[in-house]
Amino acid sequence: MISLAGRDILHSWGKFVLTGIGLGLLIGATLTMAGVYRGMVDDAQVLLTNSGADIWVVQKDTQGPYAEASNIRDDVYRSVLGLPGVAQAANVTYLTMQVLHGARESRSMVVGFEPGQPGEPTYLVAGRRLLRGHYEAIADVKAGFRLGERIRIRRHDYEVVGLTQRTVSSGGDPMVFIPLKDAQEAQFLKDNDAIITDRARTAANPALNRPGVPGLLDAVNAAQTVNRSVNAVLVKVGAGSTAETVAQEIRRWKHLQAYTRVQMEEILVAKLIATSAKQIGMFLAILTVVSAAIVAFIIYTMTLGKIREIAVLKLIGTRNSSIAGMILQQALGLGLIGFVVGKISATLWAPAFPKYVLLESGDALRAFIVVMLVCTLASTLAIRAALKVDPAEAIGG
């Protein structure tokens, strides 16, 4: 038996393929939206993996350092190191800011870390690690900096000595790694004018500038300019201990908040990007409905254009199931072309997106099934119209 659907598609393949391409671009947009969500989740996981930590110690009653602001003293790590089961503990700071690069700016997350400790970038694609204590930086390639270039963070210039890849914040901003001391200064130190004003204000305060207490004013001024804060302490657990046990100890004895990797993932994925995920979910739902409406409209219009032929086919004895099959196959064919075009276009344009777009095979498979289901559903309207055609319409009068 002849494949009526196949012949019809071959007969008007130009129209069919163009329609499929149009649908495909829509499917490509849908796949990309799913890829954006996957990319956000992956960014969050990569962020945690790159930190090299098993536990994040942060300010009590906060969900820092990525989801909320966290501020703890920089000597906390010493007491954490003393706890049983802790192999390594290191201070770290995170600050999202505009990093100047010549006349350009790049939105980046500046990370302050201590070399050889958790928080240091584990893999460089070019250049070297930090060797000097100050004014050197390692940047993610996405920031657009090159080796040897100078970038400005707050009041100091830094030389880019190394490049990493896939080190981004949960918001997708590339990371710039600098020495901890520099990062603390960049984040917490006030500018010179503010320091001078503060000193004058302190000197004018009789409680802090007592003639009978020499050295008090100097001590207060020093306390105002010396920064002793970090955003978190990254902890690596030793062999034989579990992250949860050590985290419990930290919560109990140090009056700090400690999150394990699982808990931190929960904060990042379920809380930090939850709204974005819902937003994307809404887009996906709308795009699915729009795709279904387009397929339904196209197949319905194509069927209406063949009403006379369908009447003739019915009159000469074609089964209803053959006619319904023809329409269904055309809808599925359109879906197949659309899916292939969508997958190819999403793969081509995904790298051009500013944020990471992760196209997973599982998502593609699910999308394929959804496209086929949507096309099947969308064809019902046209099938209904075709089955209603009276074979008598082929006979005049």
């Binding site: 038996m1 002849i2 009526l4 012949r7 019809d8 071959l10 007969h11 008007s12 006379r308 032929e309 003739v312 086919l313 019915k314 009159l315 000469i316 004895g317 074609t318 089964r319 053959s322 009276d390 074979p391 008598a392 082929a394 006979i395 005049g396 009068g397």
Partner: protein, 238 residues
């Protein structure tokens, strides 16, 4: 007359009560195998209704129809003798329309071969049958062409081949010459006469085309749902 088509007391009423319309009233017709008869009448006289009843597309209200020696409809015995009217139309009735209405996405051969294929015959057998008919109708050289590539006359010949594909005992032709000029109309009628004779098929040609009316040996005039048989001129066009 056992073969061919016989219609006795065929009536068709649309609607009911005060608004009922009797489109056909006690129509009697008898056409022998190999015979081509004309069915002539003004618009609204019931030609199309009769064609639809004969084509098993609508159900008559009353009467009896016999096709190829077999009763296909008898209102006294519950109506249609088969529930599968689709198969009845496919296997036992050929249709030729005013326009050829070829399936645009099938080539000429497959337009003709589709019917035997629908009847369950193998593709090869169906295509061989199609080619045989296309040869007989002198369009075999366009066997691979698409319908849109054919002239009007060629399209009409292919539609005649399609009507003959399952060797039906009767062909219903609905104004097959209406869009054609005199010469082409005569050519189509010549072909119908040849095919009727060659395949022993009864052909009913619905027409109000003055050019071809003199060709019929027998004509049924239909007016207000009633038919009157009269002898035609039977002009020789061979």
């Amino acid at each position: 007359m056992d073969q061919g088509i016989h219609i006795e007391g065929l009536s068709k009423r649309y609607g009911a009560g005060d608004t009922a319309v009797d489109a056909l009233k006690e129509v009697n017709m008898s056409i022998a195998p190999g015979e081509v008869v004309g069915l002539v009448g003004p618009s609204g006289s019931g030609k199309t209704t009769l064609l639809k009843c004969l084509g098993a597309v609508i159900e008559p209200t009353r009467g009896r129809m016999t096709l190829g020696g077999e009763v296909i409809y008898d209102s006294a015995q519950g109506g249609w003798k088969t529930k599968d009217l689709r198969a009845l139309r496919r296997d036992r009735i050929g249709f030729i329309f005013q326009a050829p209405y070829l399936i645009p996405f099938l080539d000429v051969t497959d337009n003709v071969a589709l019917l035997p294929m629908l009847a369950g015959r193998a593709n090869g057998v169906s295509r061989a049958r199609a080619l045989e008919l296309l040869q007989a109708l002198d369009v075999a050289h366009r066997a691979k062409a698409q319908p849109s590539e054919l002239s009007g006359g060629e399209q009409q010949r292919v539609s005649i081949a399609r009507a003959l594909a399952n060797q039906p005992p009767v062909i219903l032709a609905d104004e097959p010459t209406a869009p054609l000029d005199s010469q082409r109309a005569l050519a189509v009628m010549r072909i119908l006469n040849q095919m009727a004779s060659q395949y022993q098929t009864a052909i009913i040609v619905v027409t109000h085309d003055e050019k071809i009316i003199p060709i019929f040996k027998r004509i049924y005039h239909i007016r207000d749902g009633r038919t009157v048989e009269e002898a035609g001129e039977g002009r020789d066009i061979s």
